[in-house]
Each structure stands twice: as C-alpha cells, then as structure tokens.
Amino acid sequence: MRTFALALIGIALAAAVLTVRALGPDPGRASSHREAPLIAEDPSADTTDLYAFRSLDAPDHLTVIANWIPAEDPAAGPNWYRFSERARYAINIDRSGDGKPDVSYRFRFRNREGALFLGNTVQDYTVTRVAGGKETLVASGVTPPNNIGPRTTPNYRQLAAGAVTNLVGGGKVFAGQREDAFFGDIGAIFDLVAIRKGTGNMGGGKDFFAGYAVHGIALQIPISQLDDSDHTVGVWATTERPRMRIRQYRRHGIRRFHQKREWVQVSRLGNPLVNEVIIPTKLKDRWNALSPSKDAQFEQYYREPILAAVINQLYGLGVPEKNRDDLVAVLLTGVPGLNSTGPKLADMLRINLSIPPTATPNRLGVLAGDTAGFPNGRRLEDDVIDIAERAVAGKLKGHPAGDLLGDGVDGNDVPSLMSFPYENDPPSGFDNTKGQQKP
C-alpha cells in the first residue's frame, strides 16, 4: 500500500502530462505510437572542420585534415565515440576549378569486436583513392583507441604515432580521436553575441572547445601528385550514408555499395562557417547534398550575407551589406592573384600549392598579409571566427570595421604537433579539464 501511495504522490508532484509510448505485441500494454527522435543530430556524419596547408616539416606535401563528431567530451561517461561503420567519408580535391572532384580519398571504418562490450574504440579502416573513374586501395589502417586515461591507454602519444600509415604511391594517413583544434567563444556568442571585451580585438574570450575532442582524418599527399600549371586546388570533405527505401529490401552490409546511386551525401564542408553563417536554414539540407559545382544557385547568400546586417545592427559599424564581391571571391572563386580558379562558383577551400609555409604564421592569415594561411588553405592556428567577422565587416574592402571585430579567443588551448598528424592528442577523460578539483 505504501508503494502505491508514494508512487501516487510522486506522480501528483510531477503533476501533468505523461505520454504512453510503449510499443510491442503485448495487448496488455500496447500503444503503437512510437516516438522516434525527430530532430536527431547525426554527429558521426557531421563534419566540423576542414584544414589544408603545407607544413614546415613536409613542405613538398599537402596536408588535409577533416574532423567529425563535434564536442566529444572525454570525461562525460563512456568515451566510445567512433567513426560510423555504415557511412562513407571522403576528402575531395578539384584540380581543374570546375567544382567537381578530380581525386577523392574515401574512408570506410569497421569496428572490432572486443572482449569488453562497447569498450573497444579501435577501428580498422581502408583508404580508397578515386581518380579518373578508377578506384585504388591505397591504405589499410587502424585507429588508436580513444584516450581514456593513463591506466587504460598509457603512452598515448606513442599509441597515436604508431597509427600513422603510409599511402601506396607516397604520403601518409591517420584517423582517430584528436583534440579539437577549433577555438572560439561560442558561449559568449550565444549570450547575445556578448563579446567579452570591447568589439573583441582585445582578447579576453573563453575557448568553448578547450577540453573537447573530435574524430579526425589526416592525409598527407605529395604535391607532385596534385600540382599543375595554375598551382591551385580546391578541397572539401563529404559524408555519405546508404540510401534506403521502405520497399526495397537490400542487404546493407558493411562493405557493400560501390555505386553512386546507393549513397546519399548528407554533409559537406569546404570553407569554414559557410553552412552555419551563409546558407539559410531552409536550404541547408539541399546545400549539404550537393557538389560544389552546383553552388552558383547560392551566390546571393554569399553576396549579401546576413551577418553583415547583424553586425551593423549590433555595433552600428555601417559595414557593406550588399554587392560583396570580396566574399564571393574568397569563398566561391578564389582571390585573384592568390588562389583564383576561374569564374566557376564553387565553395571549396582553395590552396595555392606554390606558396611555401612560413615559420611565423599570423592567425589572421591573408588579412594580415600572411598568404600561407586562410583563405589560402587553412592552418590549424588560423583564427577563422575572427577572420570571418572581419572579412564580413569589410576588411578586404578597406572598411575600418575590418580591424575591430573578434571573439577574444586568438588561439587553441593546446599547441599543434610539429609533425603529422599535427592535430594534437585528445584530452583523456582522466585529465578532464572541465570539472573542479577538490582539495
């Protein structure tokens, strides 16, 4: 009787609406209404960042890094993040400037069954190079396990270094958990874009991404395989998932699917922040499904970015809101005299392979006269939030507001590695930086 009374009080306190959600064949309690998550995020298909650069230790190679699975918190419960087994990941390179891939590197992952259920985060993977309609297996690699802590995964640096694999025909690949090299004060941006100090060019921001990890794929490709007379290539990353229809009962095995029609592209990333800042919500699904060669239809959103109007509303800076040829050039065609690929509009991360890396990089890249950084490729240390805000504010048009803006976070909390795969080892759950140390 007490159980009954207590439970009733509990419900009365909770006081309102419960919903019947069970499903199942038991007539004693069936309710067929099954609530599947509707606005489900798809982290293992979500490309967070893309980088392309030449590095001092390997100047004759192009390094491309793409990250997936945002905001992995190594300390929040089981640290079981993995690449999806059923998705197909790709890094695409356009050499001709038409916005279509001339060379693609495709990645497929496979879980290992371990003695510990779910505990085994090591994955086997293959790298397939697709060029001229031909597919070649160029590497079979193994990811390191996720960084759990010094007991479970000791000597993590060594573990990760051991996972670097050579590509057939030259170059290297690495895939696995990494420290998120992205940095920015998202917390303040959410608080009504409350930049913590002034307009943001004075520091004082808080790096929201410190202490979080992602899953990264890093590729190092000999420039000799990519270069040609105009020296500039365009890079973008994509994620595809298998196509499925209710009445087509195909077996969706892990290693099947070769034909294009069996895949749907669900995510792509060329230039940073475009999906977030430029493309309107109503068109995001379409944009993510397309190849950069189809980007002309989105030109107006680059030419009249909503962020410019916003900056004017917030700060009354009078930045240009229309006819932004400068942004179209940076994001869709390349900057003339730097990394232009011709008139074709295509959102790709363009890099002129003839520009050597510098020992003294500037976080503002080309805006600060450092042509080895964004938007000529993108290095791990390039401050793309500040660059985006300043570029939108008209820096390239000589507008004075172009020097003022920023989020007050000027660099990553963790230094990059000096050599491949450059993005640093992930923080371990044991070394969690977000909790509070008790005396």
């Binding site: 439970a7 004693g28 309710s31 606005i39 489900a40 699975i69 059923r86 919500t281």
Partner: protein, 401 residues
C-alpha cells in the same frame, strides 16, 4: 553540434540584432528578451527531456517555449516542427499534421518536415501517404531519424528482417552514446522480441543499458524477457526500477501483471488502481489517452462497455491499425464478435506480424463459433512469439490443448 551551435548562434545574433540591437548598444543586455532561436532550442530540449524521463512538466515547458517562439516568428519552421512533434507526443495527431504540413509548405526542402508529416499520417492510418513521406525524408537525409522510420514502416508491413536491417543502420548512426543509442538498441531488441527471440532481444536491451545506464524503456523491455523466461522475481525487480524512475502507465500496468502472475493479487490491484489514477492526471492535462485506457481496461476485464465507447471514439480520432485492433478487441470482449471481426481484418490489413493481434483474432473467431479458424490464429500467435503476453499466451496455449 558545431553546426547546430553556430547556426543557432548566428540566428540568435540575427534575431537579437533586429529586436534588441538598440538596447545592446546602450549596454542594456539584461533587458533583451530571449530570441526565437533560443526559445525553439529550449522547447526542443524540454521535449527531449520528456522523451527521456517521461516527466510531464517538460511537456508544458516545451509547449510554452515553442508557442512563444511561434508567436514571435509565425513562420519559423523549427518551431512548427517542434510543436508538431509535441502534439504527436500528446496523441493529437490531426493537430500535429496541420502544423507539420504548414512547416512543409514553408520549407519544402527541409527534410525533417517530411518526417513530421509522415509521423502524423501513420497514426491517422494514412499509410500510403505516410510511407511516401518517410521515403522522401530518407532520400534527402538518411540518418538515425530516417532509418528508424523506414524500420517502423517495414515492421508495419510485416517485414521484420528488413525492419531489423534498417534499425541496425539507425543504431550505427546513433553512435553508441546516450539516449539515441539506448532508444535504437531498445527498438532493435523489441523487433527480435516480437518474433520470440528472447536471447537476441535481451542482448540489445543490455546494449541500450550500457549506452545509457538505467534507461527505463530497456529496463521495462528486459523485464518482459525475464518474465518470458519464468524469472518473475527478477522481472519484478527490473520493472520496479523502471516505475521508480518514470511511472509511465504501461510500466505500472506491467508491474501489476507481474505481481498477478507471481500470485500477489493485492499488489497487482494497487498497481492497476495507480494506472487509473495516472489516466485521470492525463485527462486533466488534456492528453488523449482513450485508446490506451480502453485497451488496459478491456485487457483486464473492467468497465467493458465504457471502454468500448472510448475505443470507438479513439478509433475515429486516430484510425490507425492499432486503433482498429483495440476496437476489435473491445468489441469482442463485449460479445459483439461479428463487428469485431471486421475491425480485426482492418487491423491486419498491412500484413503486420503481431502475435497479440493474431491472438485477439483467434478469440474473435472462437466467439463466432469458428473453432478451426480460432485454433489457426492461436497457433499463428504462438508461432510468431511464444511469449507475446504474460496474460494471454497461456490462454492461447490452453485453447490449443
């Protein structure tokens, strides 16, 4: 998340700037009202919390936030989809469909609007349209949300194997973490259970509990497996854990059934009375629970005539095969077996493989004096899932003796 965070941030900037730009410039940040985007995010988070915990207050909070967002921006697609989803949670499927359709008209290329439309159509029994909507959704945005809907459609069509295949893709997309993983593993387990495969089902439920310890829907489902294996005490323990965390009526009713099977009718009665109390809370809060309550009462042999009236109303409001099945069962238990048979045929019209509905059909045929037919349906029920119901599987077995 990055995408969501930043997109949210930018939209927040946009809306804020337009509304509160002046105030901000004067440094009066505290006076700024929440933006549409912030309200939508809050509403969706509350809806998610309701899904996770079953705690009712989340629904009201979700509704308040989403209504406020919509009042501010009547054409906000995310707010509309959120409200459509909320209405579906409250079994108001016609209202849900209206909202989802409005979202779809405003943003035809946003895949999730197709899913919201399909969700409502399924519960309204408009399967051809619903399945077209799900296919369209999966065509644009395959992922957890799409694969799980494909799986459900296949299950309704009686294709358990392909349904499992689709749900496995959903499990993969859920990525072994948190509620999405727990939910997909649990659904996968239920598909196995529906065909009587206890071991496979239990393994998936354990995966769900590993991904999200204490996940109530997995505890409840695991309790059914334990009961099917004859381990009633263990089943009671699991079901009690589920009820303590989330007193959902189907959990409470199941606990009652377990006590009853364990020879403790007093405790069972307490639970059954609790189910009735919960239903009054529902009604007080405007949730449509006619169908669920009618089924519970008919199953437990109480208030049969009243329940038949409720089942009729529910079947008119949401004429899904599920409602057809409940009405058929209510008619049968009221001795109106001819009409019951017609609704049973409707309930099985998609070819769904559902041992419970097969059993009910057997009872209807027996009531009509069709003894051979009845035996055929009882056999079919038990062949589909020997453990389909703690209460009714033994009845089917006795009838075949």
């Amino acid at each position: 998340m990055r995408r969501l965070l930043l997109a949210g941030a930018v939209a927040a900037i946009a809306a804020t700037a337009l509304l509160a730009g002046g105030a901000l410039r004067q440094g009066d940040e505290a006076a700024a009202a929440p933006t549409t985007r912030q309200l939508v995010r809050l509403g969706l988070r509350e809806l998610d919390a309701a899904r996770r915990t079953g705690a009712p207050s989340h629904y009201s909070r979700s509704e308040a936030a989403l209504e406020q967002a919509l009042a501010r921006s009547p054409e906000d697609v995310e707010a509309l989809v959120g409200l459509a989803s909320l209405e579906a949670s409250r079994h108001r499927f016609r209202e849900s469909l209206v909202l989802a359709r409005r979202a779809q008209r405003l943003s035809p290329e946003t895949a999730v609007t197709s899913a919201a439309v399909g969700d409502a159509l399924v519960e309204l029994g408009r399967y051809a349209e619903a399945f077209r909507a799900f296919d369209r959704f999966a065509e644009v945005k395959p992922g957890l949300a799409a694969y799980s809907r494909i799986s459900y459609a296949r299950e309704l069509l009686g294709r358990t194997g392909p349904a499992i295949e689709a749900m496995r893709l959903a499990v993969d997309a859920a990525g072994d973490q948190g509620e999405p993983a727990a939910w997909t593993y649990t659904q996968l387990g239920k598909l196995s259970f529906s065909r009587g495969r206890l071991g496979a089902a239990a393994a998936e439920y354990r995966h769900a509990l590993a991904a999200l310890p204490g996940y109530v829907h997995a505890l409840d489902a695991l309790a059914r497996v334990e009961a099917a294996r004859g381990r009633l005490r263990r089943a009671i323990e699991l079901e009690r854990r589920a009820v303590e965390q989330a007193p959902l009526p189907q959990f409470v009713g199941a606990l009652g059934d377990l006590y009853r099977a364990d020879g403790r009718p007093g405790l069972a009665r307490d639970q059954y009375r609790l189910v009735a109390a919960i239903d009054r809370l529902y009604a007080a809060n405007g949730v449509a629970t006619d169908l669920e309550l009618a089924l519970f009462n008919v199953d437990h042999g109480v208030r049969l005539r009243e329940s038949l009236a409720r089942a009729r109303l529910a079947q008119q409001a949401r004429p899904s095969i599920e409602a057809d099945g409940v009405l058929a069962w209510a008619l049968a238990r009221n001795g109106r077996c001819g009409e019951a048979r017609r609704f049973s045929q409707r309930a099985l019209r998609l070819g769904t493989i559902d041992a419970g509905k097969f059993f009910q059909r057997g009872m209807i045929e027996r009531c009509l004096g069709h003894r051979a037919e009845a035996r055929r349906w009882f056999r079919r029920a038990l062949r589909t899932n020997l453990h389909f119901s703690l209460r009714w599987a033994p009845v089917a077995k006795r009838a075949l003796r």
